[in-house]
């Protein structure tokens, strides 16, 4: 089992904290999901931050702060430094966004920030496209976890480029990988896990469901099922039918 900077996670589900109808619903969703990691952000303090932090601490799971909304390496680096102090962790979900419509990560800014942050002792979880060359550059920069997107953030489209994800997974057998963003259904999470990814990270699909706690539980079970299936070693698909019931011994009727 691959470790995330020395940490073995109890569950392959990482869950975000945004867009829930209420803090109580968010808390219920976390409990139901069994998620091992919670993602959070830093924003201008307007009064709610302290109470929110108490809820997060009460969840008792690993905290992964993000640099969401940053459009430059400089912004992301400063945000990461601030997050490390507040959340008391070296973990950082590095997001450097390159385009406002797709929220596609900026590969150049992400790499630049990853180099600086790794040299400062951060344990970087870079949000990235499924580009294999970028992946190698991020590993060279010191990243020991990669987080390719499934589809654009909040789109719910699932795994947009299964070929790209599969080849990326195969190219870096020792690097833990999280499919982050774009998952809409538990089957998407199961699919990613069956392909050999180590975790999935999602937010909107749970927070915007009619019943977030129920959806959170479904995602937790699907991710786990996919993980078990990958470990079990799936059969190879075939184009033609092969009878599962023995032919030998069939009666002459």
């Amino acid at each position: 089992m691959r470790e995330f900077y020395g940490v073995t996670l109890d569950s392959p589900l990482m869950l975000g904290t945004a867009q829930y109808p209420s803090p109580a619903v968010m808390e219920a969703a976390f409990r139901a999901s069994g998620a091992a990691v919670v993602t959070v952000s830093l924003r201008r303090e307007t009064g709610g931050g302290q109470a929110f932090w108490q809820i997060i601490k009460g969840l008792g799971v690993h905290v992964l702060p993000n640099t969401a909304g940053c459009y430059s390496a400089r912004e992301a680096i400063t945000t990461a430094r601030m997050a490390r102090e507040v959340f008391e962790t070296n973990w950082i979900k590095l997001e450097v966004i390159g385009h406002a419509d797709t929220l596609q990560p900026d590969p150049f800014g992400t790499l630049e920030a990853a180099e600086t942050l790794s040299s400062e002792g951060f344990e970087v979880f870079p949000y990235m496209t499924e580009d294999q060359v970028l992946a190698q550059r991020l590993v060279d920069a010191g990243c020991r976890v990669l987080m390719p997107w499934g589809a654009p953030i909040g789109s719910g489209l699932g795994l947009n480029n299964r070929y790209g994800l599969r080849t990326l997974r195969a190219a870096f057998p020792d690097i833990p990988m999280v499919v982050d963003a774009g998952l809409g259904l538990p089957s998407h999470a199961g699919d990613a896990m069956e392909m050999g990814f180590d975790a999935v990270l999602l937010n909107t699909a749970v927070a915007q469901a009619d019943d977030p706690a129920l959806m959170a539980q479904a995602f937790g079970m699907a991710a786990r099922a996919g993980q078990m299936a990958h470990r079990a070693g799936p059969m190879a698909p075939r184009d033609m039918a092969v009878p599962s019931t023995p032919v030998i011994g069939k009666a002459w009727l």
């Binding site: 993602t39 400063t78 963003a181």
Partner: protein
């Protein structure tokens, strides 16, 4: 002096970042600070002088994906 705090112009009498946070009511809060775009660790706030027109960001834990 007048400084910009989280995008709003505020009048403060404090001359250091630590004193300004106290004055603005964030003395014991779990916040991180950046001055003119650069991170200022909590341990450096007492020695960080403020100047008129400085841009201060005070950030706290918030929801995120």
């Amino acid at each position: 002096m007048r400084i910009e705090v989280n995008g709003e112009v505020r009048e403060v009498t404090a001359t250091t970042l630590a004193a300004a946070l106290d004055e603005l009511g964030w003395g014991t809060a779990k916040v991180a600070t950046a001055l003119n775009g650069d991170f200022v660790p909590a341990s450096a706030r007492a020695d960080q002088a403020l100047r008129d027109g400085d841009r201060l960001e005070v950030l706290a834990p918030m929801q995120g994906g």
